[in-house]
Amino acid sequence: MSGALVQVEIPFHLRTLAQVQGPLELEVAEPVTIATILDALESRYPVLRGTIRDHGTLQRRPFLRFFACAEDLSHQSPDAPLPEAVAQGKEPLLIIGAIAGG
């Protein structure tokens, strides 16, 4: 596959689940969107299927949010193109868990 090299950061508990460390670099089919990034992420790390978005509806899980380039992208369409800096691998897509709980 040829595509864009994209940086993604996932929460600590998902890194331990997927047995990875630090930011991830993924080859993502263009156009680079939240949906295509998650497709690539779940393809490479199948254990993450269902942990960020629902298996069936593909809806974002309620306590997770997507940020990039200092913007909250959580409520934009998952098929909307992401900022060019993300598509070019200069800025990461940040997948962040809500800070709550004990």
């Binding site: 998902l14 689940l17 199948p46």
Partner: protein, 392 residues
Amino acid sequence: MTKIRVLAGTRKGAFILTSDGKRDAWEVAGPFFAGWEIYHMKGSPVNPNRIYVSQTSGWFGQIIQRSDDGGKTWTTPGGGPQKSPQGFPAGESNRFVYDTSEQTGAPLTTHQWYDGTQHPWEFKRVWHLEPSLTDAEAVYAGVEDAALFRSADGGHSWQELSGLRGHGTGPHWQPGAGGMCLHTIVLDPADPERIYIAISAAGAFRSDDGGKSWKPINKGLRSQFLPDQDSEIGHCVHHIAMSPRRPGVLFMQKHWDVMRSDDAGDSWREVSGNLPTDFGFAIDVHAHEPETIYVAPIKSDSEHFPLDGKLQVWRSKTGGQEWEPLTRGLPQKDCYVNVLRDAMAIDTLDDCGIYFGTTGGQVYCSPDGGDHWKPIVRDLPAVLSVEVQTLS
């Protein structure tokens, strides 16, 4: 040589506690899956080194973990290839999908919400895993929102036994304070087709055909919060225990009341007797004496801690009604922990061991049927579940 393995699921990870048959010196392994809620872990009676774990998170959903070597290593057995092409662990263990197919499913109706309105059925987590008594590959999962799933392939895939959720009373089921969870699964060793389950707050149900069809078994239960005291469903059953030596005799810790059935749940009678409070969550039966039962009384439904700050297990050797407090080695002042419904277990050594965990992070063991207690560990995260395996 006999070995005891205690499986403790906690609010922040899983722990495995091991000892020899004396149950005096313990080794503690863990935390496994650190930071995740471990609602339940249980080993297969067929292959004790196969252990199933419910790993769950309000953020990231449900994961099933499995060990085939007694907890040394773990895999996520669900869905797809066992290893991804890049060599990372595969998964999709968290794929619990209610069966709405025309052939085998039931319509995904609504259930009653806290405010009395109807609410859609939504999968949240696995509360209890019950491995088959005869097949190490088969395991049942009780989930929230209440439904029963079964895997026939070691947790690789899960199918709902939708006859339960599809029972005609489903729209009247309602969540208890902890959610609308199916938390108890009891398999009958004498009849592989017979399964008992319990749901908060729908009540107890029994299947006599391997889970295809279900009937409520709540006759004799009375719940003050219900408009109809003798309602067929709606009772907040906290836990059910059965001695494998005497299938058909069931003991129940209800929201309030300790109950007993001698006819496989067809009818119940109260056996709270002289208990100082009959509210509680945990209940279990001695491994060799089917009339000896244990409860951990909790003050009330509003105050989930022991009466007067004294942590006590109460034992009846008469199948209920007549109870005695067991206190030696347990804190008898300033103790305000809870003992949750899946946090009591019994080993099968001749001198039967009793175990329970608390929300204060202690796991206690009595190696002599409850007469004397010692903490195995004192400072774990809040204990959600305790199971024990007697290994030879």
